[in-house]
C-alpha cells in the first residue's frame, strides 16, 4: 500500500432497482494522474459522489492512504471528507460562489484553518494579531495560486463574471486551497478550447509534480486523458471493463467496443 493513495474495493451503488455501480474495484497512486473514462451514463460521477461523501455506497469500501494512516472513506459524510480526509473535488457544472469575489472564493476554501485561527470568531471579533496574521497568510496562499493560473489581476472581481475557462481553473485552485491529498476533478476540460485544454494539462502536471498528490480525473476529452494520465480506469454500465496504462487502453478490444460499438 505504499504508493497506493486510494483503494476502492467492490464498490456497489444502487438506486432502488437501478445499479449505477456494480462491484467496482480499482486503485489510484500518489504522484499520479488516474483517469476514469467511459461512455455517458457509465457511472463515473456516481463514483465521485461516493468517494466524496455525497452518496452513501450500497456496499464495498474505499480506503484512503493519508501519509500512512488508512482512512475508510465510507465512514465520512460530505463535508467531513474534505475536512478530515482531505479529498477535494470539482463539479461537472461548475460550482463557484458567483456573487462573491475570486479572492473570497479562495478564502472560503481555507475556512477551517481560519476558523481555528479566529478562535471561532472570538479572536477575530477582537481583531487580535494572531487572526490578522493567519488571514494574511491565507490571502498569500490564494495569491500564490492565482499567480499560477494568471488570474491575480481579477482577484476582486465577482467569480461569476469570469469567462468559462477561467472559472474552471478557479474551481481547481479553490479545491487546492484545502491542501488535499487526493484531488478529484469532474470533467475539468469540458467546454475548453484547445489552448485552454493545454493550459489545464500544464496546471495538472504542475499539481502532480510539485504538490505530490494524487489526481483522479473524469474525462471525455481523450487528448487530455492520453497526454497526462499515468493510469486509466474504464467503466461501462457501472462495471470496470479495463484498468491499465493509457497506451494499453487505446488498444483494448472491449474499450473500443464500448466507445465505438462492436463491428458487425
Amino acid at each position: 500500500m505504499n504508493e497506493q493513495l486510494l483503494v476502492v474495493n467492490n464498490l456497489t451503488m444502487k438506486f432502488g432497482g437501478l445499479i449505477a455501480i456494480d462491484n467496482l474495484s480499482f486503485s489510484a497512486n500518489k504522484n499520479q494522474i488516474t483517469s476514469i473514462i467511459g461512455p455517458n451514463g457509465a457511472g463515473k460521477t456516481t463514483v465521485f459522489n461516493c468517494l466524496t461523501g455525497f452518496y452513501k455506497p450500497t456496499s464495498g469500501n474505499m480506503i484512503l492512504n493519508k501519509e500512512g494512516k488508512l482512512i475508510p472513506l465510507n465512514d465520512y459524510t460530505d463535508f467531513k471528507i474534505a475536512k478530515y480526509a482531505k479529498v477535494a473535488r470539482t463539479f461537472q457544472n461548475i460550482r463557484l460562489f458567483p456573487a462573491m469575489s475570486v479572492l473570497e472564493n479562495l478564502l472560503v476554501a481555507q475556512h477551517n484553518d481560519l476558523m481555528r485561527a479566529s478562535g471561532f470568531s472570538i479572536f477575530g471579533l477582537l481583531n487580535l494579531k494572531r487572526y490578522r496574521y493567519k488571514e494574511r497568510q491565507a490571502v498569500e496562499k490564494a495569491k500564490y495560486w492565482l499567480d499560477i493560473i494568471g488570474l491575480t489581476s481579477r482577484a476582486d472581481d465577482d467569480a461569476g463574471d469570469l469567462p468559462y475557462g477561467d472559472q474552471r481553473k478557479l474551481e481547481i485552485i479553490r479545491a487546492m486551497c484545502i491542501d488535499p491529498k487526493l484531488l478529484c476533478l469532474d470533467e475539468p476540460a469540458a467546454g475548453l478550447n484547445p489552448k485552454e485544454s493545454s493550459e489545464l494539462n500544464k496546471l495538472l502536471e504542475f499539481i502532480k509534480n510539485d504538490k505530490k498528490i494524487g489526481i483522479l480525473l473524469i474525462e471525455h476529452d481523450m487528448s487530455v486523458v492520453m497526454e497526462i494520465s499515468d493510469h486509466v480506469v474504464v467503466l461501462n454500465y457501472g462495471k470496470k471493463i479495463f484498468e491499465g496504462t493509457p497506451q494499453a487502453t487505446t488498444q483494448n478490444k472491449e474499450v473500443i467496443e464500448a466507445y465505438l460499438g462492436s463491428e458487425e
Binding site: T52, G53, F54, D78, F79, K80, A82, K83, A88, R89, F91, R95, L96, F97, P98, A99, M100, S101, L103, E104, L107, V108, A109, Q110, H111, N112, L114, M115, S118, F120, S121, G124, L125, N127, E135, V139, A142, K143, L146, T152, A155, D156, R174, A175, I178
Partner: protein, 422 residues
Amino acid sequence: MNSEDLKKNIKDSLFTGLISLALFVPIVGLRTEIQKEGLYIDPQWGSTFILVAICVIGRFLINLNSQRSEKINVLGKFSSGVSNFFSGKGKQFAITGILFAIVFPFLPFTDRYILDVGIMVLTYIMLGWGLNIVVGLAGLLDLGYVAFYAVGAYSFALISTTFGWSFWVCLPLAGMFAAFFGILLGFPVLRLRGDYLAIVTLGFGEIIRIVLINWYDFTNGPDGIGGIPRPSFFGLEFTNNPKEGVETFHSFFNLEFSNVHKMIFLYYVILVLALITNYFTLRIRRLPVGRAWEALREDEIACKSLGVNPTNTKLTAFAIGAMFGGFAGSFFATKQGFISPESFTFIESAIIVAIVVLGGMGSQTGVVLAAIFLIGFTEIFRELEQFRMIAFGLAMVLIMLFKPKGILEHREPTITLHGEKK
C-alpha cells in the same frame, strides 16, 4: 403603433376588465354590513367602478408601453436611480445617518410623537439588522423571527418583575435565552430546504404565541405583564416619585422633571443597541464564519465539498440572529413597560422579513431605508393605516418581480487583494 396592436390592446384591456369585475364586484361591491337581524348588503358601486377602471386603464397603458419601440421603464429607472445614488457612498451615508440620528431628538420638529416614531423605526432597524444575518447573509428564510423577539421581551419582563434586576443586567440574559432558543429551534430544522424551513419557522412562531396566550400561570396569558422597570442612567432614575435614597435624573442635572427625558434616554438606548448590532454584523462579515454564511447562501454543495460544516454554520447564524432579536425584545419590554402576546404575531415576523427583503438581502443600508419607509412614513400617514398592510404586501410582490435583490443590490466584497475599488 398600428391598428392591429390597438385592437389587441383593447381586447386585452377588456379581458382585464372582465376579470377585475369578477374580482371586485363580490368582495368590494357587495359589502356586508352588520345589523341586529343579521347581515345585509351595502353596495359600493362607486369604489368597484374606480377599481375596475384603474385595472382596465392601467392594463391599456402597460400594453401601450410594451408595444412602443422604446419602453419607458418607470420602476426600473427609479430603483436604478436609488441604487446609483447610494453605491460607493456607503461610508458617507453611514456617517451622515449616524450624525442625524444623534441630533434627532433635539431637532425643532421632533415632538414627543415624532420621537416615539423614531424609537419605533430604530427598533425595527435593529430587528431588520438582526434578521439580516439569518435571511440576508445566510440565506435562511426565517418566518418566525418574532419568537426570539418575544423570548427576549418575556424573559426580561419575568426576570425583572420577579427578581427586581435592572435592565442592564437582564439585557445580556435575555439575549442568551433568545440565542439558546435559536439553537433549540434551529437544530432540528436547519437541514430543511428553503421553503420548508420557512413554513417550519412560521409554525414555531405561532406555537410560541399560542403558548404565551394560554400558559396563564407563567406568562399571565392575554393579560400580559406590566410594571416592567425602565432603565436608569448610571443609577439615576427617570421618575418624579423616586424611592427612598434614589437619585433622579432631573434633580441631578437641575432640570424640571419632564417625561421627555425618559423618552430621549430610551431613544439613545435603542440607537446604541442598533449601532452595536450593525457594527457586529459588519465585522463578522469579514470573518470566516460570515463568509461561510454567504457561501452557504450561494451554493451549499460547494461549501460541503470545501469542508465547511453547513449545520454548525447555519446554527451560528440562527443563534446570533436570535440573540439580537432577544436584545430588541428586551428593549421593547422596557420601553412599553407592559407586554402582552398581542405584540408578537406572525405579522411582525412578516414585516421584519419585508424590511430585509425590500432593503436588499445582506445590505445594512438597505434595511435602514426600508425601515424608515415602511414604518416611518406609514406611521406618520396614520389615516391610511388600513391600506398600509396592503401596500406592504404589494411592495413585497413588486420587489420580487422587479428587483429581487432589493433596492440596493450591489454587494461589496469583504476583503480585497488590490484595495478598495472606487
